[in-house]
Symmetry: C2
Subunit: 453 residues, 2 copies
């Protein structure tokens, strides 16, 4: 592959030029005033794909912003990799905190600063450049590839799931590849091998048929806020273990190999907690912080409201109490089943005079995990090791990436998440940036990956 790497080296300024052009398009998907820029950015994405030598490049209209696809499928009897990315970006507020305008890419200290440089235009472009280089030098790719680049990732990906259903045949592949995450630190590549799923519920408890005076009625009537507190307090025991019957039934134990691997990760627990201003961690006993964050399911209260919540005093015994709840699920847990278990658990805690309604607000994504012996994972480890001269860290992600769950459920694809943003890349924040040497090295590793897959 040395000839490909030489080509890449010779064309670094061209790659950067493409990146600058890409970053200059203010593709803020959540801002209705940027609708035309979104179209422009989809067209430019298509142009980049065509220019790299991909076939069947198409800009698909959706009810929202366009989805761009392109493929190269001439490697007979070879596997296919589906590469996902998004060309839309987050809003740029607060603008005064940007050192340079967010859509005027600025290069300084080996970094390029602009909205989208890390999340995700820079990382998309690495994949495109890798393929462009192979096709330019070799005339063909070692495997088949297929791109799906959407424009609504920062805005809920409302139209992607149906698109995957509708285009299942064209998108047939053997593995998915997503570069929309971070390295552990500069020079330390990381592969995300587990993601938690999400179930987001809203519960309402209703007691008396109207708000009551808490002096006149207090003491003889169940207060929905008190019943809610009691119900929520019963969810976990003193060890932080969730007491909802059946909740852990399909949760597999964490393999010893993973536990050992975590111990080798350069994770500084103290600075992690100091950074968020708490004196200590607080979670399920018997698990390390990283296991709590990446590999164990959670029950989290995202909001509670009820009664009088304005300044001052009002002695009300409210008719209703509300809570928003989110459960992070791990591989094996079925969101529909968990929702039933949660509802049943709360129903059983209530006195007769308080009624429960439970509804799903969003979510339903399952947790996913990549087995240690998954061949594409082994290929990725090799590609990253050879490029960065550093064994890649296998990490988890506590949050959910819905597209990964969608790839699994709709296309039956396992996803490899290999990210090239540095930890201080500031995605979603002012002064977002991409480290240029990592941009080039990452591209090199992606060339290797296409060969090893």
């Amino acid at each position: 592959m040395e000839d490909i790497f030489s080509y890449l080296k010779d064309n670094q300024s061209g790659s950067l030029k493409d990146l600058v052009d890409y970053l200059e398009i203010p593709s803020i998907s959540s801002d209705p005033n940027h609708k035309q820029e979104m179209v422009n950015c989809a067209e430019f994405t298509a142009h980049l794909l065509k220019n790299a030598g991909l076939d069947e490049v198409t800009v698909h209209q959706t009810k929202g912003h366009p989805i761009v696809t392109g493929s190269w499928r001439k490697a007979q009897n070879k596997p296919t990799v589906l590469i996902y990315g998004h060309y839309d970006v987050q809003p740029v507020d607060p603008i005064p905190l940007w050192t340079n305008p967010p859509f005027s890419p600025h290069i300084e200290n080996q970094r390029i600063y602009a909205r989208g440089s890390a999340d995700d235009k820079g990382q998309i472009l690495m994949h495109i450049q890798a393929i462009k280089a192979i096709l330019a030098v070799k005339g063909e790719l070692p495997i088949n590839v297929c791109f799906v680049i959407e424009g609504e990732e920062e805005f809920g990906s409302a139209n992607l799931p149906q698109f995957l259903v509708d285009h299942g045949n064209e998108l047939k592949a053997d593995v998915a590849l997503v570069s929309d995450s971070s390295m552990w630190e500069e020079g330390f590549p990381a592969i995300t091998t587990s993601l938690r799923g999400l179930l987001f519920l809203e519960m309402t408890l209703t007691g008396p048929n109207r708000d009551l005076h808490s002096g006149t009625f207090g003491g003889a009537v169940a207060n929905p806020l008190e019943i809610l507190s009691r119900a929520l307090a019963q969810v976990k025991d003193q060890d932080g273990r969730i007491l909802i019957p059946g909740f852990y039934d399909s949760v597999k134990p964490i393999p010893d190999s993973i536990r050992e691997q975590h111990k080798t990760l350069p994770f500084d627990k103290n600075s992690y907690f100091t950074n968020i201003g708490v004196d200590e961690g607080w979670g399920e006993n018997g698990y390390s912080t990283l296991e709590q964050l990446w590999l164990r399911p959670t029950f989290e209260i995202n909001g509670i409201w009820g009664g009088f919540i304005n300044p001052g005093a009002k002695t009300v015994l409210p008719s209703q109490a509300h809570a928003k709840l989110s459960l992070r699920l791990v591989d094996g847990q079925d969101p529909d089943n968990i929702e039933k278990l949660v509802t049943g658990f709360f129903k059983a805690t209530l006195p007769k005079s308080v009624k429960l309604t439970m509804s799903r607000v969003t979510g339903g994504g399952r947790g996913v995990s990549v087995p240690n012996d998954f061949p594409p994972l082994i290929a990725a480890k090799k590609a990253l090791m050879e490029t960065f001269n550093q064994e890649p860290l296998l990490v988890g992600e506590g949050a959910s990436i819905p597209v990964v769950a969608d790839f699994k459920s709709t296309l039956d694809l396992t996803t490899l998440l290999i990210g090239f943003a540095l930890p201080d890349a500031c995605p979603h924040s002012p002064n977002e940036n991409m480290h240029i040497p990592t941009f080039h090295k990452g591209t090199e590793s992606l060339v290797r990956l296409l060969y090893y897959l």
Copy 2:
């Protein structure tokens, strides 16, 4: 006293005329646009007192609405009764639900409908008419009286406590009399012999230094909403008993005589709970509903808020959680001490990573109770019995009437609460009304009371 009763009978239309004039003044204390009407109403109250033959009638300016006083102190070596009332009224929304305009008194079915008819202008006027009649017929009163009629009761009585301090000498008395409550039902007089005090607190729990992503951080960081739920759930045991150490230390057991008396009260527990739409009561085991409402202290949650409380989903692990709490205290419990106990209790429940701040929003009124052998109580029972031909019921009130606590703490006065509104008088609601026969009978009972005191 027959001559006095004849006088009252002959002057019923004059009394009603005074009431109508009084009710026509829209003295809504909480509405800044009604400032002039408040002054007018204070002046009219003074006019009624003067017209009844009281001396030293004065309209005192305050930082808010005026306070009106008047007295008659010519009964040497006789006790003095302080009569309290308020000339201000609640707002009148929602106006469409009034059958007649709220400040155009309308007589129908032996009732006079208008805002303030029951709460409290009608009841003030009964006291004034009783004194007017005695003075008109006898030329002197059997005891000394002193009126304090304020204009901010429906608005927090902000200026009354200081007024009582500043005018302690002029207001010297042996017992206080307040008619601002209800009969048990038509023909069934009631004397309120216990009131609960109030301590209103606001607590805030602070965990991480900012709102966190509940996917990324959930599972390893104490969530203030969860800690709040756990803390609040620990306040009571399964029997509804408050577990805050020391909370009950100065609570006296309910005397057997009171418990027996309660059993004779025509209280229909089922319709009480049906009316507010709950299947059953829920309170401290071992106490009847009335005991729970009137004679036992409570811990009530009036509001909880924190995290994301708007429509939709946001996976936030919030930095803070808040609750508004009110404790109803009974005779013997010291609010300052209870606040310390509550704060200490919550502090002890928290993990190291969550901090508590507790502040008092309002309240601090102690609970009060009138001993069964208190001579003015015996006098009041006799006066009501003779008038209504029905033994008055001795009841409690779960809510707080701050002025009663202030009379105790500032003037060392025990207060008798004798109310003449009927249970369907709709105070604070549309179509507030006063039952005219009860208005006249009540006036008669107050004449007797002045003689028996």
